[in-house]
Amino acid sequence: MLKKPPSVVLASFRPSTYPRGYASALHSLRPCWMVFLNILILIVVCGVSSAVVLAEDHLAVPANLQVFDTPNDGGQSLTVNWAPGALDSPDVRYQVLVGDAGATDVAALKVVAEFPAHTRLVKDAKGAWWTRTAERNWHQFTIRSGKAVELKDGTVYTVTVAMLKGEERIVGPLLQAAPTPNWFNWNLVNNLVLTLIFGGVVFFSIAHARRRDIFLRRIPGLDAVDEAIGRATELGKPILYLTGAHDMSDPSTIAAAVILGRVAKKTAAYETELLVPHRDPITMAVCQEITKQAYLEAGKPDLFKEDSNFFITSDQFSYTAAVDGIMLRKQPAANFFMGSYFAEALLLTETGASTGAIQIAGTDSDHQLPFFVTTCDYTLIGEELYAASAYLSREPVQLGTLRGQDIGKAMILSVIAIGILLATLGVATQAAWPQYFLDFFKDVK
C-alpha cells in the first residue's frame, strides 16, 4: 500500500470525465481545492512513508523467542531459539542474557554471549533433522554451565535475547526454563541403528559359519606367528609378548589378549618359555587367566608359570626401559608387539631389532604403525590385528565375526557411493531432501 500512494495521488490530476452540463457552480473552484487536497495528501503520504522507513531501521524484538532445556544432553544447559530478523546483518548483534528465576528487570540479567546477528543459525549447529528444534534459518544458542554462568539442574533461570545496533538495544521477553539431564540422547539414534544392523549381520554370519566353512585370505603376518614360535623353540630362547599400553576396555588390548591365548597354547605345546610384561594390573590378571587356560588346553598345566605374566610399572618410559633391558638380557628369539602403543613403540622395536629377534607387531595405533612397519618383520595393520585371532583359531564364532565385518564394510562402501551421488545431486539441484539421507550417517553427539 505504501508503494502505491504517489501514483494514486497523481492519478487524480487526470481530466475529469464528468459531463460539464451537470456541473454545479462550484465546478470552477475545483482545480484550486483539488490541488490543495493533493498537496495535503502528498505531505501526509510522504510523512507516513518516511516514518515507515525510519521504523524499518529501528531494532525489533527477537521474534518467537523460545527457551528450553537442551534436549539430549547431560544437563546444566539451556537452549534459546528465535526467528531470523529483518535487520540480521554483521552490523547488528544479538546478546543472550541469563539471570535468576526471580529476575524481572533486564538490568538484573548477565550477558553470557554476544555475536553478530547473521551467525548462530540452526543450520550451523551440529545436529540431525530428527532432533532439530527449529527451522534451519532460525537462530540458536546453547547456554552451557561454565565460567560465564553456572547452571544447576532443576533450577529455573530467566533468559532473554537482546538486539543491538550501535548504542541502541531492544530486549525480548523474559522467559524461564530449567536445565535437566536427559536419559536418552536421540542424536545417537543412528549410532544405535547401525550397531544393531552390524550386530545382526555378525550374528547371521556366525550362524552361517557354523554351517559352512568360510574362506579367509592368507595374511602373511599371521603365518609368521607359528614360524616365530618354532624359531624360538629351535633356539631354546624365550618369547616376549607385549599387550600394549591400554587397559581391557580397549578393543586392541582385547584382541592382543585373544592372540596371546593362541601364542601361549603353542608355546605350551612346544615347551617354550613365555614372557609377558604388563603395564596394567587388570590386563595382567586377565592375561594370566588366558595363559593358564591355554596351557590347560594344550595339556601342559604343569608347565604354566604364574609369573610368566608380570607387572613392571604403569609409567610409559620406565616400562620401556625395563622391557628394553629384558630384551638385551634374556635375548628372546621372538618379540610380539600387540595392542595399542604410543611413543615407546620405536624404542621397543629398535632394541628388539638390535638383538636379532624375529618381530611381529599388530596395532591399531595408526600414528605408530609407520615405526612398526619399518622395524618389525611383519606388521598386522589396524584391523588385521582383530582378524588375527580368527585366522589363527579357525573357530566359527570368530570366522563369522570377521565375515560379518566384511559385509559391514561392503555396506559402508555402498553408503559412501550413494551418499556422494546424493550430495552431488543436492548441490546440482539445490534440493534439501538429500540431507535427510546424509544426516543419518553423520557423527552427531
Binding site: D247, S249, D250, I254, V286, A321, D406, I420, T424
Partner: protein, 249 residues
Amino acid sequence: MDATIIGAWVATGLTLFIFSFLYKDNPLFKLAENLYVGVSVGYTIVKTYDTVIVHLIWKPIVENQEWTLLIPVAIGLLMLTRYVPKAAWLSRYAFAFIVGVGAGLAIPRTVSSFILKQIEDTIRPLLMLVPGEGVTFSWNLMNPASSVNVIIVLIGVSSVLFYFFFSVEHSGPGKMVARTGVMFLMIAFGAAFGYTVMARMSLLIGRLTDLIEYSDPSYGRPTLWLTLVTIGTLIVLSRRSRSEPPDSH
C-alpha cells in the same frame, strides 16, 4: 647445597646413563633403569592411594555418606580373591564386569569415531557451488574440498577399505584395488613417520638443551664431570669384560 644443583646433577647423571644404552647394555644403564622403574612404581602407588582410596572411596563414603560407592568397592575387592585359590573364581565376576563395561563403552565410541565420522568426511559432493560461477567441477588440488580431492579421497578410502576385506581373495582386479589401498596406506605412514620423527627430534633437543645448561659453572659443571665418569666407566667395563674368560656354554 641448593636443591636445584642436586637436581641438575641427578638429571644429568640419569640422562647420560640412559644414553649409555646407545653403546651397549651396561651397569650404568641398569642403575638408571631400575631407579626409573622403582621411582615410577612408588609414585604410582602413592598417587593411586591418594586419588582412588582417599578421594574416591574414603572421603565420599565416610565424610559424605555416599553408600552406593560400596558396590564398586565390593566389585574391586573381588579382584583380590585371586590370591585365595578356593575363592579365585569370584574374581571372574569382576573381570566380566570390567570387560563388559569396557566393550559397552567402546562400541558406540567406535561406531561414532571410526564409522560415522569417516563416512561423514568422505561423503562430499563431486560438484561445488561457487558464488558467481554456479555449479562447477573444481580442479584445485590446494583446496581440500575441491572436486578432484573428493575423488582422490574416495579412491583412497574405497581401496584401503577393500584391502581390509578378509573373506575375499585379493586376485584379478581385486589385487589391483588392494595394491592401490596399500599404496595409500604407505603414503599416509610416510607422512606420519616424518611428522613423528620431527617431534622426537624436539624431545632430543630438549634433553641436549638441559645438558648444555648444566655444563654451566653455577651448577658445578655436572655435564662435563658426569660425561667423563660415564665414558671412563664404560672403558673400564669394556676392558674388564675382554679380560674375563668367555662363557662356557
